[in-house]
Point group: D2
C-alpha cells in the first residue's frame, strides 16, 4: 500500500524536484502540496514557475495548492512530509509535525547537527537512521525528523566515503563551483552574475565542514558521533551554471595507494550502506568515474543516474597532501536535495519507520 | 630616450594587451607589430579582432603588420621584443633573438623553469633579474630572455609573497576559476561552456605548482633556487567569465597570527621589491584587500589598479591547515600576462639591462 | 523491412541529431557513419564531441567511423543517405550519390532553390516531393536529392502556412534570435558572444527570404513555382542560447480576422499535408500555441513535441501591417535540420520513393 | 554658477548612472541623493549595490542618503531634480515638485504622452522644450516636468530622425534584443534567462509605438502633435546582455534613395536640433555608422561617444517595405535614460528654463 505524502514548499526549485520525483513514485502517493499564502488556492500548474527540463507531471498539474497548515497535514492522514522550507520556518514547524506523528524528511538546515537527528546520505550512513528511536525517546514524539544534508556536503561525502573506509582520510580541502539553482528560483539576479562569479555563499562553508564530519561519523546506539579523524575546510563560490555543483577536492590519505586503486574503490564502493536494498530511487552506480581528461562537466554529466549518481573525474596524486585530488560533480537539487530526500523516505519505509 | 619595442604575436588577446599598454607608454615606442603569415601586409586595425574594453589606440591603428621575421627585428634596431607566441614557436625563436642582442620579454611557457632564466613577478622577485648576467655568460648571448609567469601563478605568488616573508608558508592549495580569455580569442567555443564549466586546463596545474616555487625562490648569484619550504597543489577550472582569474587559496602558515595581521601584512607589503622604483606600470597598491563579504568579483574588481593590482577578499582562518584561506582575483591578460611583461621591461630599463 | 541508411558528416551537431533520431528508428537501420578524414578509423563515441541532452545511443556508440566515401555507400547498399556536410562539399558529392541510385536527404544549402529539387517542410509542402520524378527525368538519375530547408525558414514557414491558406499573406517581416548550435559545434567562440550578441549570420537572411517563397509555392507537375503573393524580409541575429531559434514575425494578412481565429487556425492546421500519414517523426501538434504572456522561451519550449513542434506565442494584432505579429520558437537542429530530414525520409518511404 | 541638483531613486541602475554623470558635471552640483526608506541614513557607498564599469565617483561616495522627501528638496533649494522612480510613485510626486517650483527631469513613464509635457530626445526634438510654457500656464506650476523617453524609443527615434527629415518614413517595424539592466538591478533572475531569452517586456511595445510618434511630432505653440505619417509596430525581447539595447529596424521610405545616401544622411544628421549648442553631454556624433558586416555589437559598441552615441550598422535595402533595414544599438541606461536626462537638463539651462 502506497504511503500518503505531502510536499511543503512545493513551488520553489527543490519543491519542484520533490514533485517531479513523487508524482509517479511506486511507493508514494502525492496527496498534498503546500506553499506560501500568496499562491494558495490556485492549482499547482498556475502557481508554480516551473523551470525543470521536463514538463510538470500530469498527476501534479491539477493539485490544489494549500497554504502551510499542520492541521490539514494531520487531517489528510499524511504519512511522510517532505519539506523544502526556509530554515527559520522549518525550525518552528517540523517539530510540531513530528509531535503529531508525522515522519518529516526535511531539506532545511535547522537541527541538522543535533545528535539525535539522522542526517542521511543513505549510501554513506543509512545506519544512522536508527537514531530515530533515540530522538523519539528524547523528545516524546510519535513521528520524527530526518534531515537531508546540505547539497555540497551530500556530494562531497558520497565521494569521500569509500576513501575513508579503505584508506583513511585526514585533511580535506573542498573548493566549490556551485549552480544558480542552489540559491532558489530568484536568488541570483542576472545582473550580478553575468560575466562574473560570486565567491561567497552564506553559511555554506560551515555546513560543509560540520555536516561532513557528522555524516562520516558513527551512530553508537545513543547518539551520532562526529568523525574525528577527518578535518574539512571549504571555500564556496557561485558560478553561471543552471544546475550541478562542481567541487575540487584535495584529500590526505592515511595509507599509500595508487590512482588506479582509488578509482577501483570508488567504482566498486563496497561499503555502500543501501546496496541490494531495492530502493527505487537508488542509482545503480552511486559513483561514476570518468576517464576523459576534461570531465565531469555540469551540463553533460549532471543527469547521470537520473541525477542521483555523482560523477568523479581527474583523479590524480596529490603530493602536497600525501593523498589524492579529484573533481566531483553532483546534481544539487536532485542528489543534493529532493532526490536524496525521496531516497531517505524509501529507506524509512524499508526499515519500518514509515 | 624611448626604447624601440616590438610585439610578436600582436593580434591575439595577449598581443592586444601588449599593444594597449605600449602604444602610449612614456618609456617605449611601439615600432613593429608582427603576427602569423595570414594577417601580414594588412594594417593592424584590419587584421585584429579587437575585443578589449577600450578601442584600438590611435598610434597602433595604422601600424603595418609583418610576418614574424627576426632579421627585420634586428634591422629595425628594436631594443625590446615582447612575445605572445605559442610555446613551441617561442622555443625556437626567442633564443635566436637573444643571440642577436635583443632583450626578449616573453609570455611563452618555454624555458620558464631553467635556472638562468629570470621568471619575474617584479614585486615578488625583481632581484632575480640579475640572473641575466649568468644567462649571458652561460649561453654567449648579448641579448637575453626574461619570462612572464603563467597567469594563475603570477596572481597567486603576489598574494602569497607577504605571507611567505612574514609568517612562513608550507602547504598551499590553489583551486581556480579561470576566465575565457586565458584560452585565447577563439579557444573556448560557446557551445562547450554555456551553462557549464570545464574542469581542466592543459598544463596549467603543473605550471602553478612549479613556477610558484621558482618565483618564491632565491637567486644566489649563480642560479635561481626553488623555494623548498612551500609545496603547492592546484586544481584548475574554466568558467564563463570574460577576463579575471579567481583563485581560492588555502595556505599553511609556519607561525600563528590573526586575520587582521594577515590583512595588514598584505596591504602594507613591506617586502615589495620594486617599491619606490618609479616604474610607470607598477600599481600603487599591488595587493588590494576588500572587506565586503562577497568580494572580489571578476567583473567588478578586475580593473583595479588599471588591471595590475590583485584583489584579495574573504581572509579567514583555516583550522584544517593551521593557516589561512582567502580568495584572490587578478586580471589574467594584464597582471597575468601583458601588463606584467611591460612592468618587467620597465625594470630592465631601470636596472640598465635594456 | 528496414531501409539501410547512412549519415555523412556524422560528428557535427546536425550529424549528432541525425544519429540520435536514426539509432532507434522503427523504419531505418543506421548502417554507416562517415565524417572527415581526421576522425576516420575511430569508433563513433571516441571521435565525436557529443553535446546533446541525452547520451550517445547505444547502437551508435561502437559504429566505426569512415571517411566520406561514395563507393562504400554504394557497396553497403545504402538506401537513404542523410547529409550534414558543408555546402561546397555537398554540391560536388550529392549529385554523384544520386547518380548511383541513392536517395539523398540533404541539410546542405546547395541546390535548395533549383526548381526540380524538392525543398521539403513536410506539413507545409509534402506534395512537392513528386518533383523527384522531374528531377530524375531532367538529370538522368536513378536516385534523387531532396533538401531540408534552412532552419529559420523551416520554423517560419510552418507557422505561416495556415495563415497563407486561410487568410492570405503579403508582406512578412522576420527578425530572429538564433541559437549558437546553428553555427556548429565550434562556430561561435565564447569570447565573442558572452555579454553580447552578433547581429549577422552569413547568408541567412537571403535563405529565409528565398526559401520561404519556394516552400510556400506550388508544384505544377513540371517545376516548383515560388509563391508570388508573399514577400519576406529578414534580419538575423545570434544570441547566447544553446538550442532553439526564436523569431519575431510580423505578417500582413489579406483578409480581416480576430486573434482568436488566428490561434484556432494555427492549432487546427487543417491543411497539414502529412496529417494521418502515420509518419513516426511527425509531431502530434506541429504548431503549439501558448497563451502565457512571456512564452515561447527557448530553454523551456524547444523540446516540445520531441523538438518537432514549433511553439507560437504572443499572437497580437498588428495595425501597422494590417495583420498579425507573433513570436515563434523552433528547435533549430531538430525541427530546423535533422528531425525534419528524418521526417522527409519517412515521407519518401511512404510515397514509395525510397 | 552651478545649478543645485538632486537624484531621486539614486540607488537603482538608472540612479547610479545619474550619479555617475552628475558627480563631476561642469554645470551641476549634486547636492542631494534620495532613495527608499530602507537605505535612508546610510552613506551612498554603503547603501548602493554599485554595478557600473567604473567605481563610484569620489564626490558621491560619502553623500548621505535621504528618504524621498519633497520638503527637503525645497529646503535645499534644489534647481533640478532627476527622478528614476517607479511610474506609480513618480505620478504622485513629480507634480508636487513642479508645483513647488522645481524643474523635474524624469525617467518615469507616467505623463509621457500628455500633450503639454515635453518628451525630449534633444537631437531629435529639442524645440518641444517650449511646451514647458504651455504646461506652466495649463497647470499653474512655477516648476515643470520634462520627460526622458523610453530607452528603446530614444534609440530608435534618434536613428529614424534623419530619414524622416530627408526621405519621409511610413511603416516602421522594430524588433528588439534588450539588455538585462533595463529591468533594473534585480529584475531578471539568472535562472530565468541563462541559456534562454524572454520574448516579453511589460508595456514596452506600446511605449515604442506611441512615444515614437510624439517625439517625431511637432510642437505647434499650443501642444505637441503626434507624427501621423509614421506608423510603428514593435516586438520586444530580453536577452543575456548586461547593457545595450539592439534593435532591428525595418522602415518604409517615402522617396527612393541608395544605401550610401542613407548612411551619409545619418552620419551628417543635418537636422540635429542641438548642433553647436555646446551642451557638455552631447556626443560629437549622435549617430555612428559602422561598415563592418557584423556590427554593432553591444559589448563592443555600447560605450561609443561615452554611451551617448547610437551605433548603426548593416544598412541594407528592404524590397518588401520599399525602404531600408538596419540594426541600431544604444546604451539603454545612458542614451536611453540617465545620459539623455542630463542632456535634457543642459538644454533647459541653455534655454533659460533652469
Amino acid at each position: 500500500m502506497k504511503r500518503r505524502v505531502a510536499v511543503l514548499g512545493a513551488t520553489g526549485i527543490v519543491g519542484q524536484r520533490f514533485v517531479q520525483f513523487l508524482a509517479d513514485h511506486p511507493w508514494f502517493e502525492l496527496e498534498l502540496v503546500m506553499a506560501s499564502e500568496r499562491s494558495a488556492g490556485k492549482i499547482y500548474a498556475q502557481a508554480v514557475t516551473w523551470v525543470l527540463e521536463k514538463p510538470i507531471p500530469k498527476k501534479a498539474y491539477e493539485l490544489k495548492l494549500y497554504p502551510i497548515d499542520i492541521d490539514l497535514v494531520a487531517k489528510e492522514k499524511i504519512d511522510i512530509v517532505f519539506t523544502a522550507l526556509p530554515a527559520d520556518v522549518a525550525k518552528e514547524l517540523e517539530p510540531q509535525l513530528a509531535k503529531k506523528g508525522v515522519m518529516v524528511v526535511s531539506n532545511a538546515s535547522s537541527m541538522r547537527l543535533e545528535s539525535d537527528v539522522p542526517l542521511l546520505n543513505p549510501e554513506v550512513n543509512a545506519d544512522h537512521v536508527d537514531a530515530i528511536e533515540v530522538q523519539r525517546r528524547n523528545r516524546g514524539w510519535s513521528g520524527a525528523i530526518v534531515k537531508v544534508p546540505n547539497c555540497t556536503t551530500a556530494i562531497a561525502t558520497l565521494s569521500l566515503k569509500p576513501l575513508v573506509d579503505v584508506f583513511g582520510v585526514g585533511k580535506v580541502i573542498v573548493s566549490t563551483m556551485q549552480a544558480l539553482s542552489g540559491a532558489g528560483l530568484t536568488g541570483v539576479p542576472s545582473m550580478f552574475i553575468l560575466d562574473n562569479l560570486i565567491p561567497y555563499i552564506e553559511g555554506e562553508e560551515e555546513k560543509v565542514e560540520n555536516e561532513s564530519r557528522k555524516i562520516l561519523g558513527t551512530f553508537n546506539g545513543n547518539n551520532i558521533e562526529f568523525n574525528k579523524e577527518i578535518s574539512v575546510t571549504a571555500s564556496c563560490h557561485r558560478v553561471m551554471v543552471l544546475e550541478g555543483h562542481t567541487e575540487a577536492i584535495f584529500a590526505e590519505l592515511k595509507s599509500k595507494t595508487s590512482m588506479d586503486e582509488i578509482i577501483k574503490v570508488m567504482e566498486e564502493f563496497k561499503s555502500n550502506k543501501i546496496k541490494n536494498m531495492g530502493l527505487p530511487t537508488a542509482p545503480e552506480k552511486p559513483i561514476v568515474v570518468r576517464r576523459e581528461i576534461d570531465r565531469p562537466q555540469p551540463r553533460l554529466d549532471r543527469l547521470e543516474g537520473n541525477g542521483m549518481s555523482i560523477v568523479v573525474g581527474r583523479v590524480r596524486e596529490d603530493k602536497t597532501l600525501n593523498g589524492v585530488k579529484y573533481v566531483v560533480l553532483g546534481h544539487n537539487t536532485i542528489r543534493g536535495a529532493a532526490g536524496t530526500g525521496v531516497l531517505i523516505a524509501e529507506l524509512l519505509v524499508k526499515k519500518g519507520y514509515a
